[in-house]
């Protein structure tokens, strides 16, 4: 079984630029999550999808962050414009259904904003 794929692995941008991260969940997993992990902290949920619908985006800074999962498979997380405090690892995870465990995580994208 292939795992959760994320790209790019690393990204360095200047503040006020835009950036996008891509996630391909495990085949057949209906639920997809984006987490933000700031250095020295635990991951924090940004948004979760059930198929192509948003289940919870209450912690997503909607003035600059957006995410979509148009066909209920791949997902893209975008930041525009980026701020210094957005420097973090962005982790994608998937699970077969909304309340099942465990979550399967990808290797994340490390974003550095200078």
């Amino acid at each position: 079984e292939a795992g959760v794929a994320q790209s790019p692995r690393y990204k360095i941008i200047e503040k006020r630029q835009s950036v996008a991260f891509w996630c391909n969940p495990i085949s057949g997993h209906a639920t997809l999550y984006w987490y933000q992990q700031i250095l020295g902290q635990g991951p924090k949920l940004l948004i979760q999808f059930q198929n192509n619908g948003v289940v919870d985006d209450s912690q997503l800074p909607k003035d600059r962050f957006s995410a979509e999962r148009l066909k209920g498979v791949d997902s893209t997380l975008k930041i525009q414009p980026a701020k210094l405090e957005d420097s973090a690892v962005y982790l994608c995870a998937s699970s077969p259904a909304l309340s099942t465990h465990p979550l399967h995580f990808g290797n994340g994208t490390r974003l550095t904003v200078t």
């Binding site: 635990g42 991951p43 465990p102 995580f105 290797n107």
Partner: protein, 119 residues
């Protein structure tokens, strides 16, 4: 809101020895799940062990076991016969058993403990 606290930023253990990582949490709920995740340098979060709050018996997975003290809201992880491959960040996490219609798998993580294993 639930909070999860890991008071040990770093821990060190000699190979083959036993180490215990601490976790406390705050909740007003009676039913919930607790987890320990391992994050090696690859950054992938890997589930180590899971405990249902309604179960009195402590969960075990091979060399990993927990000490779940519900009244004290404590959930520690014991790693026996430590191996070099156990070196990683360890995160304690909480999830409500009844998160509501839309909360699904919302996990609340602690700040993590870095475990170093000395050969």
């Amino acid at each position: 809101a639930q909070t999860v606290t890991q008071s040990q930023p770093e821990m060190s253990v000699q190979e083959a020895e036993t180490v215990t990582l601490s976790c406390t949490y705050d909740t007003s709920e009676s039913d919930y799940y607790l987890f320990w995740y391992k994050q090696p340098p690859s950054r992938q979060m890997i589930l180590v062990i899971r405990q249902e709050a309604y179960k009195q018996q402590n969960a075990t997975e091979n060399r990993f076991s927990v000490n779940f003290q519900k009244a004290a809201k404590s959930f520690s992880l014991k790693i026996s016969d430590s191996q070099l491959g156990d070196a990683a960040m360890y995160f304690c996490a909480y999830r409500s058993a009844f998160p509501g219609l839309n909360a699904g798998n919302m996990l609340t993580f602690g700040g993590g403990t870095r475990l170093m294993v000395k050969p």
